[in-house]
């Protein structure tokens, strides 16, 4: 049986029958994925995250991917300045959710693999097999410099990550081993408990560089990434699958992230987009970030830069889904048909905007056959909880 078959047989939501898997991204940090000063009830605290998770479970979403960030990026929003640490976040979320698959994100240079492996196994027990791991090397110099003064050079970071993850995998599957590598020495390595889920927690990585892609292909189940067009999404999926199969004889899927502004009319959707992106956008932090990604005014036209910055402000470079329920659904169906396994969706205000999206867009995805309807059991109580919360703000 292949690794994916084992996940499927174990009932892992990331491998269910839905052609388009859905999750949300970054509910654990300030501003989530938007760079805006627009008003929002969103708070990166536990209470809000639990309410969001209930909405997701009721609507049948597959996963939540939090982001790991150790300091803000600057600008008036100091984007992501407040961030709930993701291992402790997922442990707590695991205890109050039932179905949704949770991820935690480790900046590998900040944590010893023995600690990480044990924390994941512990959360796997708490969640009864619903925790996955996103390994990141760290690309934001100022945050990585807090840990020892220098950010690891990019490709060295992936070498470090490779050794780090190999150790985690051994800790999950072996007892009493020795390891001596370039970065770690482990004498008589041991870890208990082991993860409960089969074959192991889902591994994801958003590597996009050649070293990052190679790492994803070698170890992970999903390569996450932003898409530039539907054609490029399709091409990316084919390329990374080919790489994983030819180099490592492994299967791999892709998964992306989108931002949603869904309103009854296109005009309302566009007006809200204009409000939070063009009027209230934190253009200062958008510039800080696009500069870090090497998008400089010297090498790009003003129009291109401003379009790129809008995508960052709108949803941290996510795929834009702005319009009526029909238009948003159409965008999602295109993603599904590109071969990408799923998308995270982000909103300015999850608790206010997601119920409308869930009620009006998800049924269209079911009609289109890319998602199965959810068995409604206790959804009514949760919906009431969410409504009363929204009403009170």
């Amino acid at each position: 049986m292949s690794r994916f078959d084992i996940f499927r047989e174990a009932g892992n939501p990331m491998f269910n029958e839905n052609k388009l898997k859905m999750g949300i991204f970054a509910p654990n940090l300030s501003n989530s994925c938007t760079m805006t000063l627009a008003e929002s009830s969103f708070e990166p605290n536990f209470e809000t995250n639990v309410k969001i998770a209930k909405l997701l479970e009721d609507a049948g979403y597959e996963c939540i991917v939090p982001a790991a960030r150790w300091r803000g990026f600057g600008g008036p929003t100091n984007l992501h300045g407040r961030c709930m640490e993701t291992f402790t976040w997922s442990a707590a979320m695991a205890a109050v959710t039932e179905k949704i698959y949770l991820f935690c994100t480790s900046h590998v240079p900040t944590m010893h693999p023995i600690v990480a492996a044990k924390m994941i196994s512990t959360i796997d027990d708490i969640s009864q097999g619903r925790i996955g791991l996103n390994t990141v090397v760290g690309w934001f110099p100022k945050e990585m410099e807090m840990f020892g003064g220098t950010k690891m050079e990019h490709d060295k970071g992936y070498k470090y990550s490779t050794e780090w993850l190999e150790i985690v995998l051994r800790l999950w599957s072996e007892q009493y081993f020795d390891h001596k590598g370039e970065f770690f020495e482990i004498k008589d390595g041991f870890s208990e408990p082991k993860p409960v889920q089969n074959p192991r927690p889902v591994l994801i990585s958003a590597g996009t560089s050649p070293a990052g892609r190679n790492y994803a292909a070698r170890f992970t189940d999903f390569n996450f990434g932003y898409i530039e067009s539907i054609e490029q999404a399709s091409e990316w999926t084919k390329t990374v699958r080919k790489l994983a199969w030819e180099e490592y004889h492994r299967e791999i899927n892709t998964f992306t992230s989108s931002f949603v502004v869904c309103r009854p009319t296109e005009k309302e959707a566009k007006e809200y987009y204009d409000y939070y992106v063009r009027e209230q956008g934190d253009w200062e932090v958008a510039k800080i970030i696009t500069d870090m990604f090497g998008m400089h005014a010297s090498s790009h036209s003003k129009e291109y830069l401003s379009m790129a910055q809008e995508r960052f402000i709108g949803g941290f470079n996510g795929w834009p889904l702005v319009g009526t329920p029909e238009q948003v659904a159409e965008g999602l169906i295109k993603i599904a048909n590109s071969g990408v396994s799923g998308t995270l969706v982000t909103f300015v205000d999850y608790l206010k905007e997601m119920p409308y999206f869930n009620e009006n867009v998800l049924p269209l995805l079911e009609q289109a056959g890319i998602r199965n309807p959810v068995a409604k059991n206790n959804s009514i109580t949760h919906k009431k909880e969410a409504e009363s919360l929204i009403g009170s703000r």
Partner: protein, 137 residues
């Protein structure tokens, strides 16, 4: 992944301690009652036992009586087995019919045989031990 089996009899302290050692060191082993051992299993174990099938029985009447105090009359069977009065086949038949004559615990993967609670042997044996296979395609 390796399959290890621990044969034992409840109430036998060495069996209980070996079982605890395995659990607490994260080494999965299937625990089977020695009373349910099959003829084939006895043959397989005899093939890897340095003293053959006799090595699977209690080594002397006294050690047998410590674990099976309520079966005093059967001590003579142990004497018979260990005095070389019986052929290997006869010993095997005796063990099949009266599995309580089999010493326990027996920890095995049908390549290695560990009889009794042997701390140092286990510490050395269970290194680089694959608990599960997580690297499939």
């Amino acid at each position: 992944m390796e399959n290890w089996i621990l044969y034992g009899k409840s109430g036998n302290p060495s069996f209980e301690v070996t079982k605890a050692w395995l659990k607490n060191h994260g080494i999965p082993a299937e625990v089977r009652s020695v009373f349910r051992i099959t003829e084939q299993e006895i043959e397989n174990l005899a093939n890897i036992s340095p003293r053959g099938v006799k090595g699977l029985a209690f080594p002397d009447a006294f050690s047998f009586s410590l674990i099976n105090p309520q079966r005093a009359s059967d001590q003579t069977l142990i004497d018979k087995i260990q005095s070389n009065a019986l052929s290997d086949n006869e010993v095997k038949s005796l063990l099949v019919e009266n599995p309580y004559l089999i010493v326990s615990p027996i920890l095995t993967n049908f390549e290695t045989l560990i009889i009794g609670y042997q701390y140092d042997v286990m510490v050395n044996k269970f290194r680089f031990f694959k608990v599960r296979d997580i690297q499939q395609a």
